[in-house]
C-alpha cells in the first residue's frame, strides 16, 4: 500500500493543473458587487440614454400613410357633408313646384273656363259694388278674394266697360289679340298667380279703384295629392310600370381583414398589415327592380366591383432607397339579389334593401410584401387567390327623388354595406383575406 501511495504522491504532487485563460477575467468581472441604488441607475442611464437604434425599413412609409389617414377622413367627411347640403338645398328649392299628379292640374284647367270666369267676375263685381254703397268696413271684413277672383274682377271691369257684363265668355276684348277669349285675355300674369300675400290694386278706373282697397291674398293652401292604390274595379297598373332599370356608380371604403393561418405566419401578416392601406374602391351596378306591390320590390342585376389597396414599400434603386407606392386591385363581377321594403312618397321615396350577393368571378392584380423574399410577390402569380369567392351579403338604403312632371327623371342615392365572409385566398394560403365594404352609390332610374 505504501508503494502505491508513493507512486501517486511522486507522480502528482508537483503537477500543475491547466488554468482556463479567461479565469482571471471572470474573477475580475465578478469582483465588483452589483451596484445598487443610484449607481445602478447611472449604469443604465450612461448606456441607454442616448442610445440610437436601427429604424426598421418601411417606417417612413407607415408614418406617411398614418399622417394621410386623418386628412382622407376629413376629405370624405367634407364631401359627404357637401353632398348632403346639395341634396338638402335641391329638395328645398323643389318644394314649391306644383305636384305632378293629374288631380293637381285639374283645378287649374277649371280656372280658365271662360263661362265660370265671367260668372265669378260678375258676382265679384256685384258684391264689391254693394260693399262700396253700403258699408266701407264690410268690404274689409268679407273674405278676401282669391287671386283668380281678383283677376276675374279685372276682366269683368274691362268687359263692363267695353261689352257688358252679361255677355258670353267667348266675347273678345278690344285690347286682346284677335281670337283670344275673355278669360284668356283676363288671365293675369303668372307671377300674380303664384305670389302669396301680394297686395293687388286694380289699375282700372272703376269705382272700386277709388277706394283704398288693398286686398291681401290668402295663403295658398298646400294640397297633398297621392295616388291611391288601385282597388276593386279600377284600372290595374300596367306591368311595364312595375319594372324599372337602375344605373348606379359609387365609391366605397373597403376594409381588408387579414388573418395568419399559423403563428409562424405572423411576420408575413405584420408585413402585409403595415404595407397595405385602403384606397377608394368603386363599383358600377346595372340592375332591374320589379315592384310586386307599392311597398315590396325585388332588385337584381350585375355589379362590377374594384377593391383597391395601396402597397407602400421601399426598394433600393441605384444604391438609393426609393419609396414606392403601387395599387392592388381585386376585381369582382357579382349578382346582387335584394329584397326591398319601400316607403313611398310624392317625389321622395326610401327603400330598405337586403340580400345576398353572388360572386361570378374574381381577379387580382398587384403585389404584396413577404419578409422572406427581397422583392414583392405578384398576387396573381402567388396562386393564393380564388377566382370565385362565394356569397356575400349586402344591405342598402335606396333613396329616390323624381324630377320633372310627365316622365320624371329619377335620381337614386344609395348608401350600402357589403360583407364577404369567405376568404379571398385559398384554404391552404398562409394569410386569409376577407373584406367588408361601405360606400355610397349615385345613379338614375328609368321605367321600361
Amino acid at each position: 500500500m505504501k508503494h502505491i501511495d508513493d507512486l501517486f504522491r511522486d507522480g502528482l504532487s508537483g503537477r500543475k493543473g491547466d488554468v482556463p485563460a479567461d479565469l482571471w477575467a471572470k474573477i475580475q468581472a465578478a469582483r465588483p458587487a452589483v451596484p445598487a441604488g443610484e449607481a445602478l441607475d447611472q449604469k443604465f442611464s450612461d448606456a441607454l440614454r442616448d442610445r440610437e437604434a436601427p429604424v426598421p425599413i418601411g417606417m417612413w412609409g407607415r408614418i406617411v400613410a398614418a399622417r394621410a389617414l386623418p386628412r382622407k377622413r376629413a376629405l370624405y367627411a367634407l364631401a359627404s357633408l357637401a353632398l348632403l347640403l346639395l341634396m338638402g338645398g335641391f329638395l328645398y328649392l323643389n318644394q314649391g313646384q306644383a305636384p305632378v299628379t293629374p288631380a293637381a292640374t285639374a283645378p287649374a284647367v277649371a280656372q280658365v273656363d271662360p263661362a265660370r270666369d265671367l260668372q265669378l267676375a260678375t258676382t265679384e263685381r256685384t258684391s264689391t259694388s254693394e260693399a262700396v254703397g253700403i258699408d266701407q268696413g264690410a268690404l274689409s271684413e268679407r273674405p278676401a278674394p282669391s287671386a283668380n277672383a281678383t283677376a276675374a274682377r279685372n276682366t269683368s271691369n274691362n268687359l263692363a266697360r267695353n261689352a257688358g257684363a252679361e255677355s258670353s265668355g267667348t266675347q273678345t276684348l278690344p285690347g286682346a289679340p284677335v281670337g283670344m277669349s275673355a278669360s284668356e285675355a283676363a288671365t293675369p300674369p303668372p307671377t300674380l298667380m303664384n305670389e302669396r300675400n301680394t297686395a293687388v290694386t286694380s289699375p282700372l278706373p272703376s269705382i272700386v279703384n277709388f277706394l283704398p282697397v288693398t286686398t291681401t291674398l290668402p295663403k295658398e293652401r298646400k294640397q297633398k295629392f297621392r295616388l291611391q292604390p288601385t282597388k276593386g274595379t279600377s284600372f290595374s297598373r300596367a306591368p311595364r310600370h312595375r319594372s324599372q332599370t337602375e344605373m348606379l356608380f359609387g365609391g366605397a371604403y373597403a376594409n381588408q381583414v387579414l388573418t395568419a393561418s399559423t403563428p409562424e405566419d405572423r411576420a408575413l401578416l405584420s408585413a402585409r398589415e403595415n404595407s397595405e392601406f385602403p384606397e377608394v374602391s368603386y363599383q358600377i351596378t346595372l340592375r332591374q327592380s320589379y315592384r310586386f306591390t307599392d311597398r315590396i320590390v325585388l332588385r337584381g342585376g350585375l355589379t362590377y366591383v374594384d377593391v383597391r389597396n395601396q402597397l407602400d414599400y421601399e426598394e433600393i434603386v441605384d444604391n438609393e432607397l426609393v419609396f414606392t407606392s403601387r395599387n392592388n386591385h381585386l376585381r369582382m363581377l357579382e349578382v346582387p339579389v335584394l329584397a326591398g321594403l319601400t316607403i313611398p312618397g310624392k317625389r321622395l321615396s326610401v327603400s330598405i334593401n337586403a340580400g345576398p350577393v353572388f360572386n361570378l368571378t374574381t381577379a387580382v392584380q398587384g403585389s404584396y410584401l413577404d419578409p422572406d423574399t427581397p422583392e414583392p410577390i405578384d398576387l396573381r402569380e402567388s396562386g393564393n387567390y380564388r377566382t370565385y369567392t362565394g356569397v356575400g351579403y349586402m344591405t342598402s338604403l335606396t333613396t329616390t327623388y323624381a324630377i320633372g312632371k310627365k316622365e320624371p327623371f329619377v335620381l337614386v342615392l344609395e348608401p350600402f354595406f357589403k360583407h364577404y365572409p369567405g376568404s379571398f385566398t385559398r384554404p391552404g394560403a398562409r394569410i386569409q383575406e376577407s373584406y367588408w365594404l361601405a360606400g355610397l352609390q349615385l345613379g338614375i332610374r328609368k321605367g321600361l
Partner: protein, 181 residues
C-alpha cells in the same frame, strides 16, 4: 442651439415640404427608436410607438417654437406617446410582482461586460410598471412627483415601483454573473 441645417429642416417640415420632413425623420428616428425600445417590451410595440410619435411630432411641430433643443423636445414627446400606449395597455394586462418576471434571454455575461443590448434586454424584461418608472426616473431624470403626475399614481407608488425595479435588475445581473462564472 439648433444648427442652421436643423432649423431649415424644421422650417421646411412646417411648410409641408415632404423632403424636409423625411430628412428630419431620418435624423431623429434612430434616437427616438432607442427611446421607444426602452419603454416597450417588444420590437413590434416599439415600432408602433415610433410611428405614433412621428405622426404626433409633425402635428405638434408648429408648437415647438424653436425653444430649446429639438432632440429634447422630440424625446419628451416620444416618452409621452409611449406613456399613453402603456396606460392604454395597463387596463388590458395588469402585470406586477416578481413571480411574473421571466428570465432574461441571451447569453449570460458578467456585470462589467454588460453592453447596451444586454442592459436594454434587462429593462425590456421588467414588468411594465417597473419598466416605465425606472425609465422615467433613472434615465429621463424625472422626479417621483413628476412621474406620479404623469402616470396618475401616488408619489409613494412611484418610489416603490422604482425600488422593486432596481431589485429585479440586481437579481437578474447577479444571476447572470453566477451563470457566467
Amino acid at each position: 442651439m439648433l444648427s442652421m441645417k436643423e432649423k431649415e429642416l424644421i422650417e421646411g417640415a412646417l411648410r409641408g415640404d415632404e423632403r424636409a420632413s423625411r430628412l428630419l425623420f431620418e435624423r431623429y428616428a434612430p434616437l427616438l427608436m432607442g427611446v421607444c425600445q426602452r419603454y416597450c417590451r417588444t420590437q413590434a410595440e416599439a415600432e408602433d410607438v415610433l410611428q405614433d410619435s412621428f405622426v404626433r411630432l409633425f402635428q405638434k411641430l408648429p408648437k415647438y417654437g424653436f425653444q430649446g433643443s429639438f432632440a429634447g423636445w422630440a424625446r419628451r414627446l416620444t416618452v409621452n406617446v409611449a406613456l399613453k400606449t402603456y396606460q392604454r395597455k395597463r387596463f388590458q394586462m395588469e402585470q406586477s410582482g416578481l413571480e411574473n418576471i421571466t428570465e432574461a434571454g441571451g447569453a449570460p455575461k458578467a456585470y462589467a461586460e454588460l453592453g447596451e443590448q444586454e442592459l436594454l434586454d434587462l429593462i425590456q424584461q421588467l414588468p411594465d410598471g417597473y419598466r416605465v418608472v425606472f425609465n422615467l426616473y433613472a434615465i429621463e431624470g424625472y422626479s417621483h412627483k413628476e412621474i406620479g403626475a404623469m402616470l396618475g399614481i401616488q408619489e409613494a407608488s412611484s418610489r416603490s415601483q422604482l425600488l422593486k425595479a432596481r431589485k429585479v435588475l440586481q437579481a437578474r445581473i447577479v444571476a447572470r454573473q453566477k451563470i457566467a462564472i
